[in-house]
């Protein structure tokens, strides 16, 4: 696929490289050498990564990264609604990840939905004597107190791996005794370099313990699909699912936002896996392709342009019935989307945005900003791999700055130089830039708004972006005295 080369006046390969060099000046030699390959000027035409990625964070710099546990609990396992997810180890990790990723869920808390914090709350004696016995006891207690839970995940925190507990055997025994799926997930935070390994480890546990253990009771149809890599932040899944159903597909399972364990277990019978967050779940798609012959397709439901492209490429995987419906749906929503663009574009045209998010949004949302007339002058990821940056190159304007696992210092310096009108990043960055008077949206959590996925999501996104950029409050920042 060829892409027209997008350029931004004033931004050249030289200017970006100079900005990078200047930013790194303050670093000690060793750190400078480590960081330099992670910062680069985009080469849009090449379609390949201009930076190195998935390497250890340089010690002592302010990184936005989390850990493997965060990837496993916050992203993959945590959003499954009908399971008890045990943060196995000290109290903190579970407490910090309790309700903070906004994975909305249906059901009644404590009855058939379990978004509380479950922990084994390790004490010193558990470190000394091991926590396996405690684990077995708490699994029994969880089963007694929450009889409608369809399973239990055991997500191990750092100490569990360091003291050498065998949660796998404890979970296996308890699963048998309690007649319940109990999935041990060795996702200790010190493993790997970021959340990303936690995604991978969790995917492997789904492969080993879950997938293929159930089947749907209703007959298969040619339109059975599953929605992979959507975590229902602010209701994203509900918007995306409605749209897929509107084009005639049966969404049999969702991974994992508002997901149900048994439906996930039966995913191996669907006809196509549609994946939104490639970073967190591409391994699973590959596994299901190899093992069950299920094809998979990446798509992007941010903004009407990308939604339209995605719906058509999804349609191509099916028959004329679906393709016709795709065109009907596009025809139905195009005028509605145009009205949104007509309303907001005049207020946002030419505004610059800088992004730093997790695994898909630094590239997926660019199209949505462009639908609103905005341009992306810098983008980067906390925990992406080379294949993510390959996919980013064609989306980003040429020669703009790409940053992998940037320190807060680098991000600040880039923002100073590029003077964006909006920054889309996470909670740790938000207030830094707002103090600087730069409008900000949290692009991990939609700043407690949402959904942002699908057509329904674009109307919310457009409103939120306009609200951020054009809020009259920014005009008050400069004092009259």
């Amino acid at each position: 696929m060829s892409h027209p080369i997008k350029t931004i006046p004033g931004i050249t390969k030289e200017s970006t490289e100079e900005l990078i060099a200047k930013t790194l000046e303050v670093y000690p030699e060793k750190a400078k050498k480590k960081r330099a390959p992670h910062l680069g000027a985009n080469d849009q035409a090449s379609g390949s990564a201009c930076v190195k990625s998935n390497k250890k964070t340089v010690p002592g710099v302010m990184s936005a990264r989390g850990c493997a546990y965060a990837g496993a609990k916050g992203v993959v396992w945590g959003p499954i609604r009908d399971m008890v997810h045990v943060s196995h180890g000290p109290v903190g990790c579970g407490w910090y990840s309790w309700g903070t990723r906004r994975n909305l869920m249906t059901g009644k808390l404590g009855v058939d939905q379990f978004a509380m914090q479950f922990t084994s709350d390790f004490q010193e004696k558990d470190i000394v004597y091991g926590g396996d016995k405690k684990l077995k006891q708490l699994l029994t207690e969880a089963k007694e107190l929450f009889p409608l839970a369809k399973g239990i995940s055991v997500l191990s925190e750092c100490p569990v791996g360091l003291i050498g507990d065998d949660i796998n055997s404890a979970a296996k025994q308890s699963a048998k005794e309690l007649d319940l799926p109990i999935i041990p997930c060795n996702c200790e935070g010190f493993r790997g370099v970021s959340q990303s390994l936690g995604h991978h480890i969790s995917n492997d546990t789904i492969r080993d313990h879950i997938i293929g253990t159930r089947e749907f009771s209703e007959p298969e149809t040619p339109y059975d699909i599953s929605l992979i890599g959507d975590y229902n932040i602010g209701g994203d899944v509900w918007s995306a699912k409605a749209l897929l159903e509107e084009i005639g597909l049966n969404v049999k399972s969702v991974w994992t936002g508002d997901g149900e364990l048994e439906k996930i277990a039966a995913t191996h019978t669907v006809k196509l896996n549609l994946i939104h967050c490639y970073r967190s779940m591409n391994y699973m798609c590959k596994v299901m392709e190899e093992k069950f012959g299920i094809p998979w397709l990446e798509f992007n439901f941010f903004g009407p342009t990308k939604i339209r492209e995605s719906l058509r490429s999804i349609g191509e995987r099916f028959d004329q019935t679906i393709q016709d419906k795709v065109e009907q749906v596009i025809a139905k929503y195009d005028p509605i989307m145009q009205a949104i663009v007509d309303e907001y574009r005049p207020r946002l045209e030419g505004k610059k945005v800088m992004l730093l998010v997790g695994g898909l949004r630094p590239r997926h949302t660019i199209g949505a900003y462009e639908d609103l007339g905005m341009e992306c002058v810098g983008s980067g990821y906390e925990f992406a791999h080379t294949d993510d940056y390959d996919r980013t190159a064609p989306e980003m304007p040429d020669a703009t700055v790409v940053y992998d696992d940037p320190s807060e210092y680098e991000f600040e310096k880039f923002a100073h130089a590029l003077k964006p009108d909006l920054i889309g990043s996470g909670i740790k960055e938000k207030y830094v830039f707002q103090k600087m008077g730069i409008p900000f949206r949290q692009m991990h959590s939609w700043d407690y708004s949402g959904p942002y996925h699908g057509y329904q999501g674009f109307s919310v996104f457009a409103r939120d972006i306009d609200m951020a950029v054009n809020s009259p409050t920014w005009k008050l920042v400069e004092s009259p005295f």
């Binding site: 750190a31 009855v111 959340q195 103090k435 400069e478």
Partner: protein
């Protein structure tokens, strides 16, 4: 068994079964089962030590909090502080991973210090640990000595450090450990025989309300008593938005903290979250020492004001007497809205003692009192408070329990309202009662950390918030014929 017979199908839980369980979890029978659990902890209202350590590490001028351990931990602490204060919380970690676990964390620590000092130019680096280095047994004393010898730490730069394992105590203990280390480091060799700064040192303990800190400062100013708050977050987590970003806004001046050892007196108002610090101070600091409860409610504020007067030798100024009068006026004017109302409360020991005292003063009933990390001593102290008032009759204390226990309590033995942090909102929704957010963290309301709840002004703020909510409820729920202009 045939292959077909082995197939397991996706099952749906029948609605009737969901309804049965939904009703069951509100019963006495379920409460009993719930209270029997020994290993599983569900929704505990406390977190781990390093969070508290980071809070106080931010509270000193130019101090960079530095997590020795996994970067994921650092991200979690920072996010939590960001969400509560809606402010930046600049902190670094030395990003220990598998090789750190195998070879120890010295390389990470040294490289991390070199980078952090070069990039973020702190005046002080305050180091605290997360789980990993604690388990592998990293020797921070040796590591830091080596760092000094190698010239990684510039001459004269203070680098306090605290061991804050997450599998021990809670955020309040981490606060205590880090504060102790900061004070030990800064005051070393600063004691001067015969010197007295004339100042009173205040140790506020773990308190994530910037308004409280401003209120302490205002009260000292009313008295005309010079004071040093040891760990002042008021300008750190309540920063003006003026188009510029500063990595280290505010905080206790390092010179003031160093000179605090020569103070006239030292007063701790968060005794349970500064126990070790206070014990050390008593042996090392000049002047008088006193540990009193947080000034929440009238009686405990009285105690605080009297103590300042006593320690400073100055009479209580008229302005503060008037403040007290206004707070009491607010209470007598509005007591009818709280009288006899039952409350459930949970939180850290220092805050709990204050809430109980305040509620009893209003004729309200602190019915279920839950503390997830407390001691026998705390329990006894709360019980003594309850015994001192007829409104404490029948109230019960639950130590070492969590918010899923609390849910059982309020479903089987209902109350009118709850006091605690944001995490209590789920149980409150199920019980149909309001949650008054006076604890930490508060993720879902704005500006709560800017409204003091200590001192007489704090009493007025609490009375206003609680009573007006009860009036709101009446307005929203009463029959039309009882809906009237005046309440």
């Amino acid at each position: 068994m045939s292959a077909e017979a082995a197939v397991k199908y996706v099952t749906e839980t029948p609605e009737s079964e969901k309804e049965r369980v939904a009703a069951w979890i509100n019963t006495e029978e379920y409460k009993e089962l719930n209270f029997k659990r020994e290993a599983l902890v569900i929704a505990p209202p406390h977190t781990c030590q390093p969070l508290g350590a980071e809070l106080v590490a931010h509270a000193f001028e130019g101090s960079l909090p530095f997590v020795h351990g996994s970067q994921g931990c650092a991200s979690y602490y920072r996010s939590t502080l960001n969400r509560h204060f809606r402010e930046p919380a600049p902190a670094v970690s030395d990003s220990m991973t598998e090789d750190g676990a195998v070879f120890g964390g010295q390389n990470n620590l040294h490289e991390g210090l070199e980078n952090a000092i070069a990039i973020y130019k702190p005046k002080m680096v305050s180091i605290f640990t997360s789980c990993m280095p604690e388990i592998i047994g990293d020797d921070l004393v040796a590591f830091l000595k080596n760092a000094r010898n190698k010239g990684i730490i510039p001459e004269g730069m203070p680098v306090p450090f605290a061991n804050t394992p997450s599998f021990n105590g809670s955020h309040i203990h981490g606060y205590d450990a880090m504060l102790l280390s900061i004070l030990q480091t800064l005051t070393e060799g600063k004691k001067v025989e015969g010197r007295c700064t004339g100042k009173i040192n205040l140790i506020p303990g773990f308190d994530a309300n910037t308004g409280n800190f401003r209120e302490y400062k205002r009260l000292f100013a009313e008295f005309g008593v010079p004071a040093t708050i040891l760990g002042d977050i008021s300008d750190v987590f309540d920063v003006p938005c003026d188009g510029t970003y500063h990595t280290y806004p505010g905080g206790t001046k390092l010179d003031d903290a160093a000179d605090s050892i020569n103070g006239k007196a030292t007063l701790s108002v968060g005794p349970y979250s500064a126990t070790k610090t206070f014990a050390w101070l008593k042996d090392n600091y000049s002047g008088k020492h006193a540990a009193i409860p947080m000034p929440l409610g009238i009686a405990k504020t009285d105690e605080f004001i009297k103590k300042i007067s006593e320690l400073s030798g100055k009479p209580v100024p008229e302005s503060i007497k008037n403040e007290r009068g206004r707070a009491v006026d607010a209470m007598t004017d509005s007591h009818q809205y709280m009288h006899g109302k039952k409350f459930a409360l949970y939180g850290d020991p220092d805050q709990l003692l204050g809430y109980v005292s305040f509620l009893l003063e209003m004729g309200a009933i602190p019915y279920h009192i839950l503390c997830s990390k407390g001691s026998k001593k705390v329990e006894k102290e709360i019980q003594a408070l309850l015994d001192s008032s007829m409104y404490g009759k029948g109230c019960k204390i639950y130590m070492g329990k969590d918010l899923w226990h609390m849910r059982s309590l309020i479903m089987t033995d209902p109350v009118d309202a709850m006091i605690g942090d944001t995490h209590g909102k789920f149980a409150c929704r199920d019980a149909g009662i309001p949650l008054f957010r006076f604890g930490f963290p508060i993720f879902d309301r704005v500006n709560k950390h800017r409204y003091p709840i200590i001192g007489y002004q704090g009493v007025i703020n609490m009375v206003t918030e609680i009573c007006n909510k009860f009036i709101d409820i009446k307005d929203e729920t009463c029959e039309d014929r009882f809906f009237e202009m005046m309440r």
